[in-house]
Subunit: 844 residues, 2 copies
């Protein structure tokens, strides 16, 4: 058999036949499975990837032999069969074999109208798809006689191609096969499927099948059926049926619902056939282990199954189907876990703009933080806060955001920026907050006029209503229809299963009580990164921070910092209480001080008034603190060592909060993380300092507590020197955002202007801020992990950058022996599922 | 003998005795050598590091046994003997053994005055240095009778210590030894010597010697002698002699010149003794293989040699002495090479402020580029150019410098900045130009008033005269005395010897014809880094660059760039001609475009006028091009790929210049270097582009030429991926400045504010921008070199950062298998010598 097909160039699809997905494609394999289930599939022949490729190159095999499989004068269909249906492929071509002679024969048997219709359709399809003749030449309005239309079509064919319409079925079939083979090799088709993840050498198989014309006197028609709703995944019998009558084109025939109480349904009309159809579909579900959509005909009262495909489904339906299949015992749980793309969860956990509703898109941008939001346009953070105070939802529209906008972002339901990429400030913070966000949008903000110009030139002003779709990266005019988030039984069940097998920890990056509550809600196993600096932008604290920065000498500075202590302490008490004993990893103060100062003249003037100091002094200090490259400047541990009062205050706040929070529940063991380390001595100095504060707090309070001190690995040097750094650290947590910036010498804030072009030109295979660069940054992670563990075997290893929520990066971290990843709360479910999938993939 | 000394705690210094520099110190060893040369050294005993350490801890040995070595009632001196005389040590203590009885005996023999003087001196020294009594208590004016003074001193001692002045010589000696041992262990002494490079456990030996009092009726006196001038190294007999007469304190005796035609010289007065002294010194020079300064006494007509030390010498004298010793056959040439600290050459090659002249220091800063310069203060680059045009030397005084100041720096004889560290823009560029420079100085520039405030509060204005000392890091009021540079016979001879053994290439970083000429003058073997961007700041070019930046669309941009082509071509022709076939490595355009735009409002307004565009448009473009972290932004190859016209123009200019320059001499093989690479695809794209330009130029001109394309490794990722990057590169040149910035996550421009504190606290052992961080950045160099060579065995490896001129970094590069280093022209001699020293150190 194998040999036969190799020689002949095709394989009959039978119970026993060498058909494989990797050689003949999914459709061919699926048809073989249907045959094995004894379903009534018309005679089918499969042509392998290899043969199709040779067809495209000009080779041809014995078509006559193929035709002989189908008996006397068959009519045939050809459909594509690639490895993955998502990769596309040429459209099906039906009724191959129609010619003048078959026209007469069919006319005699089923009437002239039917014969003319079949022939006309074939001439049209063949001319347009095989010979690439302009489709307009074959359009006839309904008033033309079908027989005349067939003749006119054949004339048009002759005029365009210089040849008569081919009458030989072997010629027809050969040309159809070759044209489909060539279409697959075309540049556009190739690019399209590669964009969907197809490898460069992805093959196309073809399936040739006997037509089930379903013509005659008995019950005749065709339809589709599936047993779940594609949008929700809810069970039911969904489908339509079109009855064939000689008088009406089947295409134009009214379709009747398949299942319904109504008398007009197929179920009511043909209960036995209906039962046969449902049983066939159920059989497929059980034996093909998925929800299938069947394409069938009723041919004079006989069911024929022509094809079956996986039911197309939304993310939401996909999750429900996977869980239901496992609950029904059709697939094991670990397979259900593998079937749900981890990334699809983000869609489920945000309210979102209804993808099916009509949308008035007025700007396109980068989908920076998923979900939909609708509100009134504001241009400043203070306006956002004012709206929030009035209980009005608002969308913050900015050229770009800066740390001083964080309060405004918190007060908004969505963020839209003119500049920036997926890792711009706005994008990162918005993802962290779970606020829908579109960045780098095709808008123009006119600061002076207080308006925003949209793609179509229209101008909107503050207070106008806008919807943003952070999943699609679009802004929509007015209020769009929204769908609620889906955290239902199916989601919860799947995540339980996932957690039960997962062997990599997942924590959340959470800075505020709101974040922490969200982290718990998403079942994070702790906080992996609590950035304390955001705490200093809130309310009165910014003022105190500024007083600290303007302090004359150590005493004044110490005094200002002392006023921050109770605020920080209560921050931490609240966090610890929410987390109820789960680990909380607090990163010590990190940003450069100038982030706390105003960046414009007006701000400087206000600050001078507030501090009661001359404007010139304020300006001078701002200027002095400004940096050429803030990312590489006086921040993190450098600031901590230069102004030790800050870390001392923070350590004290953490320890006092630890004692307080431990009183009312499980003992809290805080984790303290030192940022931007590049030398072990930095760790030694800060460790000595913090151990000293701990001893002092123990002495003063008489209470005991423990804590873990660790290092955030963000510089390449810290990764390279992980052996000596690990000697003083209980954990190393890799901040892959900064590590990526430094490894590439590339600022995420400035990369936006060329990153798209770079990825499109293939300079970088992916945006390294989005998907971990396993070759460069990844090697530093591996080096750091291996050296750290070697010098300190009990060292905890973690990743706490944006990459912590990226499935590919999670796989890398697990392979490199990391203990946990930490990501923004909204990505925690993604990370949990992705991590579980790594285990699931190893089962069996 | 060994055993004896171990038991006794001391060792008699004799021909054969176990004395070593590492156990007893340099002075003890040197004295043994003098004895071996049969020079008349008084009886001497050495105490080992180990014993001195035990003394400090409180242990004591048999002092009586030590005293017995010196016979009946000796007077003794104790002097320190550490491994390196530069490490300091306690001062000598003389006349130990003086007491009431010896006072009487000496009075009987040499007169009461002499006896009283010796006793008084001892009581004073002992009280102050051993018992730490306040020195003021022992100050007597000249009118007091010496006998009364001795008595008063002993009373003061009793009152302060509660005990009589010790009369037992064993007690005296024991206390002296212990106090000197303890002084060595003190914190300050330890810090001071560690600052000079002493290890933490550096030991101190002590030398006890019989006093040669040189009292009596025959010729008596003491003096010092050396056979070279310590400042210039010129041969001669230099020294002084003080004749002892009972009536006059030897301290106050007028010293007579040792060698002179004058009748008042020792040479004239005592020709035989003079000859003996000179012969002894010559003997030392030959046998101790260095220029020695001898301390001697004439004791009743007999020469006694008390001590000998290496003649203290300036860098200049040191070089001349080393070469002269080798020319005299006393030391081999490779030893002469090793004796000259490579860094000392920088001092020799600049005119410098006379270190011995009085100096009115008005500001202290960081010694950023060596040499002295004197001129009128200017605050702007345009003023500097105006001064240069008038032929007036000027000093550019700026808060900090930016690329637009380069022309001003070229026009100035020196640069002084308020901000910045050793690797700030001003420092790097000034070193490159060989312009003396002091950065981070204690000055305050008042831009509005047009004045600079000095340390003492004085204000200077434009036109006032200032001297800067870039070697010492100081600014001096007015015009200071200067010494000319020393590129004399001795220097040239040493460098010839060095080049004859050197096995590591040394090139210069040179951007301009002036730089290139300097590079050749300093015998660089080519240009290792020619930064092309500086060329665009000159004259009309800045205007064209700005037109390019403001071009509307590709055509306008191409047109502006086309106007730059002939300028660039003539730049390269000139460089190639100067370098006469030596390799020239040209780095393609690197900086972000915003460096070419004005940074203030006035500049923007002028630019708008010049371009005839609305100010708002100019401001918007400047704003759009501005970056958060320019170091990590749109520069280097990123710019080259985004605007391919720039690199195409540069490649064409290089190739056309190659053809032109090759006509009139040796064939030029240009090297083209791609900056800021982080992925191999970047190299592939640029290589394709440049190969295309080469093909086009070959076609158009019919001329043939070859060139080498390489990559500047500045990002950690490029080092990690060196294997695949090397596949498309003829060379990898490591830009260690940027690589250090990215490995540490530390901007050199912003590090200045805390780097000093960081190095002082030992957080970083050295400023990594100054000395290559061999542990972190160095590992990336090793990884890059090994991976690059593995994938491409003929790969050329180089370092072209500031570190290329640093001796320690050069050693590292040689060990890592690099082919050459490239540094600023003025550091080329340093690099040549340092590289030769690595070979020299391996000889024997």
């Amino acid at each position: 058999m194998q040999q036969d097909s190799d020689i002949l160039g095709f394989t009959r699809v039978r119970r026993v036949a060498p058909i494989g997905i990797a050689t003949h494609g999914g459709r061919a394999k699926c048809l073989q499975r249907l045959i094995r289930l004894d379903l009534p599939v018309p005679e089918t022949v499969a042509i392998s990837f290899d043969m199709v490729h040779r067809l495209a190159e000009g080779e041809l095999f014995d078509i006559a032999a193929l035709l002989r499989v189908f008996g006397e004068r068959p009519l045939l269909s050809v459909r594509p069969s690639s490895e993955d249906p998502d990769w596309g492929g040429p459209g099906a071509i039906l009724n191959i074999g129609m010619n003048d002679q078959r026209q007469s024969e069919l006319a005699a048997k089923y009437g002239q109208h039917t014969a003319d219709r079949l022939y006309l359709e074939f001439v049209q399809t063949y001319s347009v798809n095989v010979e690439r003749v302009d489709a307009e030449l074959f359009e006839f309005d309904g008033s033309v006689d079908l027989g005349d239309a067939v003749r006119a079509a054949k004339v048009a064919y002759l005029e365009e191609t210089g040849e008569d319409f081919p009458q030989d079925p072997a010629v027809q079939l050969g040309q159809v096969l070759r044209s489909m083979a060539r279409a697959w090799e075309g540049t556009t088709a190739r690019l399209l499927r590669q964009a969907k993840g197809a490898p460069a050498d992805a093959g196309l198989g073809l399936v040739v099948q006997a037509m089930s014309l379903a013509l005659g006197d008995g019950e005749c028609g065709h339809g589709v059926v599936q047993l779940v709703d594609g949008e929700t995944g809810a069970p039911g019998t969904y489908g339509t049926y079109k009855r064939h009558t000689p008088a009406i084109d089947p295409h134009n025939a009214p379709s009747m619902p398949l299942a319904s109480e109504s008398e007009k349904s197929f179920q009511y009309d043909q209960p036995e056939l209906f039962r046969a159809i449902v049983e066939a579909t159920q059989l497929c579900r059980h034996r093909l282990r998925d929800e299938m959509e069947l394409k069938f005909t009723i041919d004079n009262g006989e069911l024929r199954v022509l094809d079956a495909i996986r039911v197309p489904r939304s993310s939401r339906a996909g999750l429900r189907v996977a869980v239901q299949l496992a609950e029904d015992g059709i697939i094991p749980r670990h397979e259900a876990i593998l079937r749900v793309p981890a990334r699809s969860l983000t869609e489920l956990l945000h309210p979102r703009v209804d993808p099916l509703a009509r949308r008035a898109v007025v700007a396109h941008g980068i989908a920076a933080s998923p979900g939909g939001a609708c509100g009134r346009i504001v241009f400043t953070s203070s306006a956002a806060q004012a709206h929030e105070a009035r209980g009005e939802a608002c969308i913050l529209v900015r050229r770009e955001t800066a740390p001083e906008d964080i309060r405004g972002m918190h007060s908004s339901v969505g963020v839209l920026t003119e500049r920036g990429g997926v890792t711009s400030h706005a994008a990162v913070i918005a993802r962290g907050m779970g606020v829908p966000c579109v960045v780098g949008a095709s808008i123009r903000i006119n600061t002076r006029a207080g308006t925003v110009t949209l793609e179509d030139g229209r101008e909107l002003k503050e207070g106008d209503i806008l919807t943003i779709d952070g999943t699609a990266g679009e802004a929509l005019m007015g209020e769009a229809k929204m769908l609620p988030p889906a955290k239902d039984h199916w989601y919860l069940t799947l995540m339980d299963w996932a957690d039960s097998i997962r062997d990599l920890g997942v924590r959340a990056n959470a800075d505020t009580p709101t974040d922490a509550a969200m982290a718990r809600d998403f079942k994070a196993e702790g906080i992996g990164l609590c950035r304390t600096e955001h705490m200093f932008f809130e309310g009165d604290r910014l003022t105190v921070m500024r007083e600290m920065i303007f302090a004359d000498g150590n005493n004044d500075r110490r005094e200002a910092i002392a006023r921050l202590l109770p605020m920080q302490r209560s921050d931490f008490i609240e966090l610890f209480r929410i987390m109820e004993g789960l680990p909380v990893c607090i990163r010590l103060f990190d940003p450069p001080l100038h982030e706390f100062l105003p960046s414009d003249r007006r701000g400087a003037r206000e600050l001078a008034d507030a501090l009661d100091r001359p404007l010139s002094e304020v300006t001078r200090r701002i200027e002095w603190l400004s940096e050429f490259n803030p990312m590489l400047g006086m921040r993190g541990v450098r600031l901590g060592i230069t102004f030790p009062e800050i870390y001392e205050m923070q350590a004290r706040a953490i320890f006092e909060a630890t004692i307080e929070a431990s009183k009312s529940g499980r003992a809290v063991v805080p984790e303290i993380m030192i940022p931007l380390v590049s030398a072990k001595r930095e760790v030694e100095l800060v460790k000595t300092q913090i151990d000293g504060v701990a001893a002092a707090v123990r002495n003063e309070t008489g209470a005991d507590f423990t804590y873990r001190l660790g290092v955030m690995v963000e510089t390449p040097r810290a990764a390279l020197r992980a052996d000596e750094i690990a000697q003083h650290a209980a954990f190393l947590s890799f901040g892959t955002n900064d590590l990526t910036q430094m490894t590439y010498g590339l600022s995420r804030d400035d990369a936006g202007r060329f990153m798209n072009a770079y990825v499109q030109q293939g300079v970088f295979p992916e945006d390294p801020f989005h998907t971990l660069d396993t070759e460069g940054v990844g090697e530093l992670l591996e080096i750091g992990a291996a050296r750290g563990r070697k010098s300190s075997p009990n060292l905890t290893l973690a990743v706490c950058g944006e990459h912590g929520g990226n499935p590919e990066s999670i796989a890398f971290c697990r392979a490199a022996g990391f203990d946990y990843v930490s990501c923004s709360p909204f990505r925690v479910p993604v990370a949990r599922l992705a991590a579980a999938q790594l285990v699931a993939a190893e089962i069996k």
